[in-house]
């Protein structure tokens, strides 16, 4: 909680079993988050050039990923998020029953295509610090929705009192394509659903304004609001793990509002017990950024803390093969197709008494290792892409294609496995692993 003299600080928020507030929390300054720091050149030349001066060689990445486009006008999220903001409707719709309005907002977001919609009660510690957002054009994709003067001289406490609810609406990305993570196929799954989420949030923001209520963007930390409203629990991999989608949910910029709503509560999906034992993400992380050890206290929050810098630093080295790593999201045992057996398993885990859970988790982990595998090597084919082609080689594997391809083509792919750059032998050279 940011301490401001003269204002009453509310008690620390309840964020579920996976995250505990143990000390004073300073509001996060968005200028100190990874992308803005990189756009100022603070993370070195390689990362700066990757972020600012790289055009992807993949046409689909050029239309769907922030910052690697050839022409920004071909990137929908930039078009949507940089559009001028609408005015709040002067004729406010009266809300007599906040519960009915909450059901309505959730139905609206689902109608627009959102997969997950929750409402959190705002807490001053969720808010970003009052400093102005980065003016730099390259950092615009982060918090680009925020207009400079949203705080209007108020403290975070006063803001959380005036705008007491945060609507978290988001999309999940595609399970089958995610199996070819560290490949352009996985990137497509990630980036396309991210663009969709950004369009939905922009439309939802506009709709709340049409109802006659404020809708502020770029204000709240999405993970904190997601935890408080029960999107999921925070896993070892530093991602929110949802009951139905696992770690494959986006956490885009939520909407802070004064619309009367009923907040949701944190959930218990058994993630806390699973992460204590599993460590699959930590083993698979190509940069060794996910901790093997226990939770740490950082900024007053007790949680698993990943090393974001090493996670970030691999990107320029693999730029020719993919944009988003997603290894920790893919290998997470909670990330499964949304089918009955995963519902049954999560139900069993979350209804199991907590002292008995470690036994169940070990059994489930063994089943997951046996059937899904300890690491992903599935071969995925989509459009002209094929993850069975070794990184750096080119070959047309489209059935029935008789076209003369101009580029040099290598031999046929060997075996029915997928290759995910960087390969294990490369990452062992890239990061020092302990033990």
């Amino acid at each position: 909680m940011a301490m401001t003299p003269g204002t009453q600080t509310p008690p620390p928020p309840h964020l579920g079993r996976s995250v505990r507030i143990v000390g004073p929390v300073a509001n996060v300054d968005m200028n100190q988050t990874p992308h803005p720091r990189n756009s100022r050149g603070e993370l070195g030349k390689a990362l700066f050039n990757w972020y600012r001066n790289t055009i992807s060689r993949d046409p689909l990445t050029r239309v769907s990923a922030p910052n690697h486009f050839a022409d920004q006008r071909n990137f929908l999220a930039a078009v949507v998020n940089q559009a001028p903001k609408g005015k709040v409707n002067a004729r406010q719709v009266a809300v007599s029953d906040p519960a009915a309005m909450t059901r309505h907002i959730k139905a609206v977001a689902h109608h627009m295509g959102a997969d997950v919609v929750t409402v959190a009660r705002a807490h001053p510690s969720f808010l970003y610090a009052a400093s102005a957002p980065p003016k730099d054009s390259a950092a615009r994709d982060v918090y680009q929705n925020r207009s400079g003067d949203v705080y209007q001289g108020r403290t975070p406490e006063q803001m959380a009192e005036r705008y007491p609810y945060i609507i978290v609406a988001t999309t999940a990305w595609d399970y089958d394509k995610l199996q070819a993570h560290r490949h352009y196929i996985g990137d497509a799954a990630y980036h396309v659903s991210q663009m969709k989420a950004q369009m939905i949030l922009k439309a939802l923001e506009g709709y709340i304004k049409e109802l006659g209520y404020a809708a502020l963007r770029g204000m709240s930390n999405p993970q904190a609001a997601g935890l408080a409203s029960g999107v999921g629990e925070l896993g070892r991999n530093g991602l929110l793990i949802h009951r139905r989608f696992g770690a494959r949910v986006h956490m885009p910029d939520p909407i802070m509002t004064d619309l009367p709503l009923v907040p949701d509560q944190p959930v218990d999906n058994g993630v806390e017990d699973f992460c204590k034992i599993c460590r699959k993400c930590a083993i698979n992380c190509p940069t060794n950024s996910v901790p093997f050890g226990d939770k740490v206290v950082f900024n007053g929050v007790e949680k698993y803390k990943i090393n974001w810098l090493t996670c970030y630093k691999i990107r320029p080295y693999v730029d020719t093969h993919w944009g988003s790593c997603l290894t920790c999201a893919t290998v997470c045992p909670f990330t499964k197709p949304n089918v009955w057996w995963r519902s049954l398993t999560v139900w069993a885990l979350s209804t199991c008494p907590i002292p008995a859970r470690p036994v169940l988790v070990r059994a489930l982990k063994a089943i997951d290792d046996r059937f899904w595998g300890t690491t992903r090597q599935t071969r995925v084919r989509w459009l002209g892409y094929d993850s069975g082609i070794k990184p750096g080689e080119q070959v047309c594997t489209v059935a029935g294609c008789t076209a003369e391809h101009g580029t040099a083509h290598a031999a046929e792919p060997v075996g029915n496995i997928g290759y995910y750059a960087p390969l294990k032998e490369n990452t062992n050279r890239f990061v020092k692993r302990d033990g």
Partner: protein
């Protein structure tokens, strides 16, 4: 609250939920007081991006057509077809027509909710046309009154007496998104 019985879902539950929603009619039918609160104008008025200077290494037109259709479905189109444009547009030999399911007719339901099919259609056509431009071919989107005619030519369905597209999958509850005109080598339906 509707009766919930685990895996069994009452088939009428969804409709019932909406009829009990006191704000649903506002969402569907009340036009926005400020057009800037709708993303539709924003996307429609956005300038068209450049065509990537290097043409991508394409497969045969048959394969490219199937890839374009796969991509459109992945982006959220429910129906997609390709047809030729005869002479009316020099330099754009083909039209890609996408259609999305529309529970409410966007021409009558002017609210943000009623326009959601238009919004979804624009998402598909914007990203699909941008992707074709990044492949190195021309592609532009424009709202045109003869979209249902082109949709019928692309074999998405047939036109009924009032000139609306009628499809086998969704009847007339379908919105034809803006037509993409392109010179990407395709095979019309």
């Amino acid at each position: 609250m509707a009766l919930r019985s685990g895996w069994l879902k009452a088939p009428w539950r969804r409709a019932e939920r909406r009829s009990h929603d006191p704000y649903w009619d506002f969402f569907i039918h009340t036009p926005p007081a400020d057009r800037a609160n709708s993303v539709i104008d924003v996307i429609r008025q956005a300038p068209e991006g450049n065509v990537f200077p290097t043409k991508a290494d394409l497969h045969t037109p048959e394969v490219t057509t199937s890839h374009v259709k796969q991509m459109a479905r992945y982006l959220g189109a429910d129906l997609v077809g390709v047809t030729t444009l005869e002479g009316d547009d020099p330099g754009y030999p083909f039209a890609i027509v996408c259609a999305v399911r529309a529970d409410d007719d966007p021409r009558e339901a002017q609210g943000i909710g009623g326009q959601v099919p238009v919004q979804n259609g624009l998402f598909v056509t914007f990203v699909l046309s941008a992707w074709i431009r990044e492949l190195g071919f021309r592609a532009s989107i424009a709202a045109s009154p003869d979209a249902p005619r082109l949709a019928a030519a692309a074999r998405l369905g047939t036109l009924n007496r009032t000139g609306r597209l009628t499809t086998a999958e969704y009847g007339t509850r379908v919105h034809v998104a803006d037509v993409i005109r392109t010179d990407l080598p395709l095979v019309p339906a």
